[in-house]
């Protein structure tokens, strides 16, 4: 059995680790609330953006929109990979890296636009090409950051350097469930759907300028909007994941402390018993 001093030392070390994990949990709880609020605020914009795009797609020239909805063979694929800059968030970062590796796209065809240091390091180590890194963005994503990223990726798309754009991020379901997801931004699904489904009112929509020109204007906004949405979701997920991981760690620490306390008491009792036995046998020896 370990000595009393050893147990004591171990206990106090675990206690201070437990304090740290508890503090980290509190911090990520607050950050999570903030990120959730941000996501709520931006929801109407994205819902309407998507509706507008659907309306425009329904009206535009098939040839013009083909560029944005037909999948092309060959060419590189742009992967916008969103992770965090810091670890200790359970499987949050590892899941995203795994998602990229298991995406079914050969490693050499992937150009990574990384947001978040952990994802960049993980993919770099496995030999992926990091085209550009925006890790400084993830702590507090701004819409202008998303526009910058979108401009870089769209330039590559328009010039034909990449044929498809994916974004790999974590959807925030609730504080205990975050789902790593891979989403194809471009070419997109045709959001206009079957024509006859839309109500008669849509048919009268006028466009100024022409639908095709409007489309060219709106597509980059759609891409940056989606990237911004993904950034905010990921931020909420990161803090949710960290909160959960730290909660588990705190519980484990408490459990260990409990076990060690039992062990410590047993050791103390043992040492007292031993001492008494020694004194008694010493006294007996004197009496004889």
């Amino acid at each position: 059995m370990a000595s009393m001093r050893d147990i004591k030392r171990r206990k106090s070390s675990i206690q201070s680790t437990g304090q740290i994990t508890k503090a980290m949990k509190l911090v990520s709880t607050v950050k999570l609330q903030k990120a959730k609020g941000k996501a709520e605020e931006s929801k109407p914009y994205f819902t309407h953006l998507y509706e507008t795009i659907a309306a425009i797609f329904a009206k535009s020239d098939p040839e013009v929109k083909a560029r944005y909805i037909k999948r092309q063979e060959g060419g590189k694929k742009a992967f916008i990979v969103i992770t965090s800059n810091r670890g200790l968030a359970g499987g949050y970062n590892a899941n995203i890296v795994k998602m990229v590796i298991n995406s079914g796209v050969p490693r050499d065809d992937i150009l990574v636009y990384s947001i978040g240091r952990k994802g960049r390091e993980g993919l770099e180590r496995r030999g992926y090409t990091i085209r550009k890194d925006y890790s400084e963005v993830i702590n507090s994503p701004l819409y202008s950051d998303a526009s910058d990223i979108s401009r870089d990726v769209m330039d590559a798309f328009e010039s034909g350097e990449v044929s498809e754009i994916f974004v790999v991020f974590t959807i925030f379901r609730n504080s205990v469930s975050q789902v790593p997801t891979m989403l194809r931004l471009l070419p997109t699904e045709d959001p206009s759907g079957p024509q006859d489904e839309s109500s008669g009112g849509d048919a009268l929509m006028n466009f100024e300028p022409e639908p095709d020109e409007t489309l060219r204007e709106i597509i980059p906004k759609y891409v940056s909007g989606e990237i911004y949405g993904a950034l905010i979701e990921s931020l909420a997920s990161e803090n949710g994941a960290r909160m959960q991981a730290m909660d588990n760690a705190t519980n484990n620490a408490e459990e260990m402390i409990e076990n060690l306390t039992v062990q410590f008491n047993r050791a103390r009792q043992g040492s007292i018993t031993q001492e008494i036995t020694e004194i008694i046998s010493g006294a007996n020896a004197l009496n004889e």
């Binding site: 605020e41 309407h48 006028n206």
Partner: protein
Amino acid sequence: MDEKHIKLNVYSPTRIFFEGEAEFVEFVTTEGELGIYPNHIPLTAVVAPGVLRITEDGKVREASLLDGFVTVLPNEITILSEACEWPEEIDIHRAEEAKIRAERKLAMEQTVRDELALRRALVRMQLASKYK
């Protein structure tokens, strides 16, 4: 909603900018200035940098509206914009800096982007100084 009012929603990626009813709404599009009364024909337009003027209960409120899209339905206007601000939110020093920067760039080379930046800065400065 009665005949005289039209619902107006202005959304930006980071917040809900305006939600309410108005009698008359004016803004600038790439095709020119537009004024919308209730029962307008359906229209989708691209915003150009300019001032958004909302007439609400006879009072006029102004805001800068610098880019985005407008969807007009007979009784509803939805504006999606990445850059819209009330006059008191405008940072006039930043706008001045942006103006100088854009002018310097334009002196070297004429690009659409810098020209738009200059127009945005001018709209912001004009509106901010008006309400100072």
